[in-house]
């Protein structure tokens, strides 16, 4: 595979401490495109070895709008289905520029390890120094030890190490769409996480054509109804949660975007600094980045103040546990005080709480946001629409939240971008079949 790709699959066997590379065959891309499409194929190829698969979309890390996504795929210990977790922020593209399009992690290590992937090199490194550390300490340690603050990480905290099915794989310091307990699979493998840094280069078959098409799409996207809106505040309002938006607003510092995503969907709140501060804060850890509205919504429903809710979410992020589930369980168990919840995180249990419906993460609202997609009719039609938009995102490597805001980013535009950028022709029938397969949980 010559274009929009490094052309390599990395296979890591933790049981034998061996790594090897396979070529990414162009024929595989023609049939399964990328992202979750190829992740599913790799998962099934190695399913006897309890694989975790990390894969980039074929458009990930390009100038196609919102091309931020890589996808983590494994069999969820919560649902017993193969599920997919979106990897956004800057981690999704860092992986693609590391020199591999896909990573398959097999087996379990006898001792704690982490993977250090950089510029086409993969090391299975000793993780004993960070085993037992929380998520923030671990990312800090890896960045410090390897001398690069731009290293991106997928990392677990104590919740994953101890096998909690509420455990969440974190991206750097922040929450992810892992509601599937993937972090506990990392823990069973004695895999503390994956540190990534890449300076790679992606060739383009028709550079001018691809960039012109991306520019044309961006121009049309920029006139969309998301324009002038930003962050979790406007997202919450669009969900009818104006009360939650107003409740957390006094803590909001700034909004930021994942790689190349026009909408700034992440919101940083300051807890230990003045949120209006517009210079570098003195404190090293003044707050946290909120990457989903649902932890906030659940925490407000508990009756917490916005400050206490955000402090609780910060504790969850450090511990590596799904903040929304923690808040829902606390509500179920009638726990009202933040301190009581924080002190009981190691004993929280799902106990009969219904897991989310696979295969895509519910961190993205199951409805159009801001834009009109013409799917306001039957509930089944809305669900089908959501599944299809998510499948497109997870296959091509496009931000799953932005795809429910932007009707301009169509399946046809993605197929065309792949054709211009790589020379690979993908038929609509191939894509439709793949989307159906991915949406139907196996």
């Amino acid at each position: 595979m010559e274009y929009l790709s490094s052309g390599k699959i990395l296979i890591v066997d933790l049981a034998s401490s061996e790594t090897r590379e396979e070529e990414l065959d162009e024929g595989l891309i023609s049939k399964r495109i990328g992202g979750a499409g190829i992740n599913n194929y790799l998962y099934n190829s190695y399913k006897d070895y309890d694989p975790i698969v990390l894969g980039a979309g074929i458009l990930t890390g390009t100038l196609y709008p919102a091309s931020d996504l890589s996808v983590l795929t494994a069999r969820s210990p919560v649902t017993d289905n193969v599920c997919h977790c979106p990897v956004t922020l800057k981690a999704g593209i860092e992986f693609k520029y590391c020199g591999f399009d896909y990573l398959v992690v097999l087996g379990a290590s006898a001792k704690p390890v982490f993977l250090w992937i950089h510029d086409g090199v993969a090391d299975i490194s000793d993780g004993s120094g960070v085993w037992g550390k929380d998520v923030w300490q671990t990312t800090d340690a890896w960045r410090r030890d390897m001398g690069d603050d731009l290293i991106q990480t997928l990392v677990i905290g104590k919740a994953g190490e101890t096998g909690s099915d509420l455990a969440q794989v974190s991206v750097n310091y922040w929450g992810s769409g892992d509601v599937w307990g993937f972090a506990s699979i990392f823990g069973k493998k004695r895999l503390k996480g994956i540190a990534m840094r890449g300076m790679g280069l992606l060739e383009i078959e028709d550079p001018e054509g691809f960039v012109e098409e991306s520019m044309r799409l961006l121009e049309s996207v920029k006139t969309g109804p998301w324009k002038g809106r930003s962050g979790l505040y406007d997202l919450l309002v669009s969900l009818g949660k104006n009360d939650v938006a107003d409740w957390v607003a006094p803590l909001v510092h700034r909004n930021s975007a994942s790689y190349n995503v026009p909408y700034a969907g992440n919101t940083f709140v300051y807890l230990d600094e003045d949120p209006s501060l517009l210079k570098e804060p003195q404190g090293a850890e003044p707050g946290l980045l909120l990457t989903s509205p649902y932890g906030l919504i659940a925490a407000k429903d508990m009756g917490l103040s916005a400050m206490d809710a955000c402090r609780l979410i910060r504790s969850c992020l450090r511990y590596g546990i799904d903040p929304e589930m923690v808040a829902l369980i606390a509500s179920r168990d009638a726990k009202k005080r933040r301190e009581d919840i924080e002190s009981s995180m190691d004993s929280l249990e799902r106990k009969g709480m219904k897991p989310w419906r696979p295969p895509f993460s519910p961190m993205v609202p199951r409805q159009p946001v801001f834009a009109d997609f013409g799917v306001e009719g039957e509930p089944g039609q809305l669900e089908q629409w959501w599944l299809q938009r998510q499948a497109l995102a997870y296959v091509f490597g496009i931000d799953p939240l932005f795809l429910i805001m932007s009707p301009e980013l169509t399946a046809q535009s993605m197929i065309e971008a792949v054709r211009i950028g790589s020379g690979i022709e993908i038929s609509e029938e191939t894509l439709d079949g793949l989307v159906s397969e991915i949406c139907g949980c196996n």
Binding site: G61, K90, M199, G200, L201, I204, L218, S230, L289
Partner: protein, 115 residues
């Protein structure tokens, strides 16, 4: 005529950086970009944009824009991840590209303009 950055509008998406890299390499890469998202203070939510011009580094941060003369006495090196900026080529306003400066064209929130 030059590039101007409004750091308070910037969302740190890095589209400018990739667009600049495309101009340099005719491919997608970040290593040659002369405009980069400043994002090493992740836990502090302190981010902006650094642009290398012919004789200066333009550092657009939330508190304002600072122009540092390259090689001037007292110039600090900044973060380890920022140092390679001095080795990169200077902004040429994407000379030779019909669409004009690519960072301007690809900024989704119009935080970068040509003045």
């Amino acid at each position: 005529m030059g590039i101007r950055v409004d750091a308070l509008k910037c969302t740190g998406c890095m589209a400018c950086e990739m667009a600049c890299g495309y101009h340099r390499d005719d491919a997608f890469a970040l290593l040659s970009s002369c405009i980069v998202a400043y994002r090493t203070r992740e836990k502090k939510d302190y981010f902006g944009v650094i642009l290398k011009e012919e004789e200066s580094l333009v550092i657009a941060r939330p508190e304002g824009v600072e122009v540092r003369k390259i090689g001037a006495a007292g110039e600090s090196g900044g973060d380890s991840s920022a140092k390679p900026m001095l080795l990169r080529e200077s902004c040429d306003l994407c000379s030779g590209m019909d669409a004009g400066p690519m960072c301007v064209r690809f900024c989704p929130v119009d935080a970068i303009i040509l003045e």
